[in-house]
């Protein structure tokens, strides 16, 4: 895994382009939420990296963490567990996790496991930001 600065955010590339994670916005005085974009395919081969990156973001105690899944083609149960763990920690910290625009296979995983009843899912970042 390597982190590459890109514009105002950070960009990570894991497992030969299989999964990319970028952080276009971090909650601060000028930013109302932290936004993480996850793209590619998340599975057992990169879910530990995904979890560590997300943990690094929630360690900064954002009140609202929005994960944009619109570029994620696939997610297996180990990647789902990373999201569930993040949701649990955000909850404990008094913050909120929101997911945005899951593609068909990702939405199917969220539905099968009923994770979509634990974590709110929105159609757009703007909707998620309103809550």
């Amino acid at each position: 895994m390597r982190g590459i600065p890109s514009g105002s955010g950070l960009w990570y590339n894991m497992g030969v382009d299989l999964l990319t994670v970028s952080v276009p916005a971090r909650e601060s005085a000028g930013e109302p939420y932290t936004l993480v974009e996850v793209a590619g395919e998340a599975d057992v081969t990169n879910s530990d990296d995904l979890r560590r990156l997300l943990e690094a973001e929630i360690a900064q105690q954002p009140r609202t963490l929005i994960i944009d899944l619109s570029g994620l083609r696939f997610m297996d149960s180990s990647a789902l567990h990373a999201l569930l763990l993040v949701n649990r920690v955000m909850d404990r910290q008094g913050g909120v996790l929101a997911l945005v625009s899951p593609q068909t296979a990702v939405a199917r995983m969220l539905h099968l496991t009923t994770a979509d009843r634990l974590i709110p899912v929105f159609q757009s970042v703007a909707e998620a930001a309103v809550g």
Partner: protein, 127 residues
């Protein structure tokens, strides 16, 4: 066709999706089969010591994906109980049983073979 794999699960998923569509599965069911195969193959990545193998075949009634590796499943009820929604494990095999029409599992000290069956649209009902 037989495919060996180690950690290249994205390639396995692409192969399964291609065969599922060619066999005549609808897109949502093809996605379910991809999910199931990926979960089984993920267990190979977690537990097996050597590469796994995937075999796919289909006829007019069903498509079957057979995954074999040298891992051993000791719990005959593995995947048969629904985990809590916020559980941090145990969803993988449960999803496999949930989305497939039939799952055959054989595991002994030499390894584990799992067959995932999906009925095709218009399949003849078996006696």
């Amino acid at each position: 066709m037989s495919y060996g794999y180690t950690t290249d699960l994205a390639a396995i998923r692409a192969v399964v999706h291609r065969y599922a569509v060619r066999a005549g599965l609808s897109e949502p069911r093809a996605i379910d089969l991809v999910l199931a195969v990926s979960e089984v193959a993920a267990n190979t990545v977690r537990h097996a010591q050597s590469p796994g193998s995937l075999n796919i075949w289909y006829d007019s009634n069903e498509i079957v994906c057979q995954i074999h590796d040298d891992g051993v499943i000791t719990d005959p009820m593995a995947g048969r109980r629904r985990p809590a929604a916020d559980a941090m494990g145990g969803h993988g095999l449960w999803i496999v049983y949930e989305v497939c029409d039939q799952v055959d599992m054989h595991s002994d000290e030499t390894g584990t073979t799992i067959r995932l069956h999906m009925k095709l649209p218009g399949a003849q009902r078996r006696a």
